[in-house]
């Protein structure tokens, strides 16, 4: 998957969960949970939503790798077709 497409998917799911936050203003290397003020339910929704849109299922053991916007996008590039 292309990097831009991966970022688009993540941002679009985030915009549904945290509509009040402009993705353009967040630090892409900062922790998503802080940058988008996500609790564990929100994060579950994020993993579920992005997983469905990208056609992959992110296992819990990989949560550390997807903790940031950059990291999550990179993860999709590496794992999603």
């Amino acid at each position: 998957m292309e990097r831009d497409r991966a970022t688009d998917i993540i941002v679009s799911v985030l915009s549904g969960i945290a509509p009040e936050i402009d993705p353009g203003t967040v630090d892409p290397s900062g922790e998503l949970q802080f940058e988008f003020d996500l609790d564990s339910m929100d994060f579950l929704n994020l993993v579920e939503g992005v997983g469905k849109a990208a056609g992959i299922e992110v296992p819990e053991r990989d949560y550390a790798a997807i903790a940031t916007l950059d990291g999550f996008a990179q993860y999709l590039v590496a794992h999603a077709g």
């Binding site: 679009s12 996500l38 609790d39 564990s40 997983g51 849109a53 299922e57």
Partner: protein, 516 residues
């Protein structure tokens, strides 16, 4: 005949506004049916009726603010009418908050832009109860589908609107659009029951269809749920989000005739003419009103309640290993987060430490029957609600997780029911997701205890004479010294700890569901 009155949705509510009637005179209602939507300072809440019968008269129009206790409608006794299947098994406990059926979030949106979101999409456990909301039952009648015979995809065995639509689409006797059953209209003839095997499998109820060109539609999860709820295909919608992603706002608020194929079968609108313009109702609710409500309650708490505070640190090593084990094979939507296990332990502990589970009323403590677990939910934009999980001490960790997720979603996006806004018997707050290690709560009067959890952190921990790195969490108790002494409070925290160290407890025995 009985009067349906404006309910008290929490200790601090004295007035409310009907923003939608979901019934009209002549409609049959069963105990537990949601018949009105009420706006309070805090939230918009779906209100159940606690009596079966026929609606005689609506006494208060949409938009009028009235005091708690004001009769809103008259309901004729159900004895003279043909009884309908009860929407839920009779509750064994007294008709307080615990008497309500499990959430029935399948009703059409009551008001844009805050429709009732559907439940978490997967229901991997065998269905125990079988619950049909009045709207879904109406829809099923009009589509000629036997709602009682359908597999239920909602939490707690709730048959959702989507279940009915899916069954109807499978050719289970979809008649032409019939007249909505209004006042005096005879009930539609009973239709052939839908064999359970003919509907879609439980557990994958809302998978979006891939468009014919094979490309996947990008959409937010909320938009997906709303689309599934409305029976709309994502690929038929024009997305306005980044990269053309379909967002919740792109999904029609109510299923339109052409896309659902169910004709005029939108019973809410048909049966409740007064609900046709809910947007005209005055909306006093907003961040300021919610803030004022929280301010008044918290000030009262600190004025009246002599708080005492305790804290302890709990080893979550066993919980972590259990979560690792059950979550590894589960899709994200079925995974359990630590907060759910902590709520589970708190509910169980409250059940056996009854001095902390109840209310301080009229200079005395009244223990609650069952644990009505309040869960503090922060809303985006600064609001705070503490809706209830009824009888939380009877649920296992898996079920508590589902309820917690569903409740959080509806607290944030609308669709809470009156029974979920009733006074909890004890409340949990969890600030761990924000990164703090401890939170000392302010008790919600008239409750007498608030349990707080911080962040789960890795710490050096002594385990039988050795130092290990373990996940630990700090739990605090804020308790009302009028109702209990520190000794009793300490026993509550100790009980929570013991429950989380006991591998024989039900949460750890729960096996992962088979993935479908």
């Amino acid at each position: 005949m009985g009067a349906f009155t404006m309910p008290s949705l929490g200790a601090d509510m004295d007035r409310g506004t009907v923003v939608e009637w979901r019934v009209a005179p002549g409609d049959r209602v069963s105990r537990g049916d949601i018949i009105a939507v009420v706006d309070t300072e805090k939230s918009t809440v779906e209100v159940e009726v606690f009596e079966s019968g026929v609606v005689e008269e609506l006494l208060v129009p949409v938009g009028e603010e009235v005091e708690v206790g004001t009769p809103l409608a008259t309901i004729a006794s159900g004895e003279a009418i043909q009884p309908l299947p009860a929407p839920s098994p009779p509750a064994a406990s007294p008709p307080a908050a615990s008497a309500a059926p499990p959430p029935t979030p399948s009703s059409p949106p009551s008001r844009s832009p805050a429709p009732s979101p559907p439940p978490p999409s997967a229901s991997p456990v065998p269905v125990r109860a079988h619950v049909v909301s009045p709207l879904v039952r109406h829809l099923a009648e009009e589509l000629g589908v036997d709602a009682e015979a359908l597999p239920a995809s909602g939490p707690g065995g709730v048959v959702t609107r989507a279940d009915v639509v899916a069954a109807a689409r499978l050719g289970l006797g979809v008649p032409p659009a019939t007249q909505p059953s209004g006042p005096g209209a005879p009930p539609p003839p009973p239709a052939a029951p839908a064999p359970p095997s003919a509907a879609r499998p439980v557990g994958r109820p809302r998978r979006a269809r891939v468009p014919s060109d094979g490309a996947r539609v990008v959409a937010s999860p909320y938009a997906r749920r709303r689309a599934a709820e409305a029976g709309v295909e994502l690929c038929d919608l024009a997305g306005t989000g980044p990269g053309g992603a379909v967002l919740a706002r792109d999904v029609p608020a109510t299923p339109s005739v052409s896309v659902t194929g169910v004709g005029a079968a939108t019973p809410a609108a048909a049966a409740a003419p007064s609900a046709s313009e809910p947007a005209s109702a005055p909306l006093r609710r907003g961040p300021e009103a919610l803030r004022a409500s929280v301010a008044a309650l918290m000030a009262r708490s600190k004025r009246e309640i002599p708080h005492y505070y305790l804290r302890t640190t709990i080893d979550l090593g066993l919980v972590r290993s259990w979560l690792d084990r059950v979550n590894v094979d589960r899709p994200p939507g079925d995974r359990v987060v630590p907060a759910a296990v902590l709520c589970w332990a708190t509910a169980r502990a409250a059940a056996t430490n009854r001095g902390l589970n109840g209310h301080w009323v009229d200079d005395g403590f009244r223990p609650a029957s069952g644990v009505q677990l309040g869960v503090a939910v922060s809303l985006r934009g600064g609001g705070l609600l503490a809706p209830v999980i009824p009888d939380a001490d009877t649920l296992d960790a898996d079920e508590l997780m589902r309820r917690l997720r569903d409740l959080t979603e509806r607290a944030r996006h609308g669709g809470l029911k009156a029974s979920e806004m009733a006074d909890p018997s004890i409340t949990v707050t969890n600030l761990g997701d924000t990164g703090v290690e401890e939170v000392y709560g302010v008790i919600y009067p008239p409750q007498v205890a608030m349990v707080g959890f911080g962040k789960v952190v890795e710490r050096a921990w002594v385990v039988t004479d050795r130092i290990e790195v373990r996940p630990v969490v700090t739990v605090t108790l804020a308790a009302d010294h009028r109702a209990t002494n520190g000794h009793e409070g300490a026993r509550l925290l100790a009980t929570i700890d013991r429950l989380l160290q006991d591998p024989e407890e039900p949460w750890s025995a729960t096996e992962p569901p088979t993935s479908s």
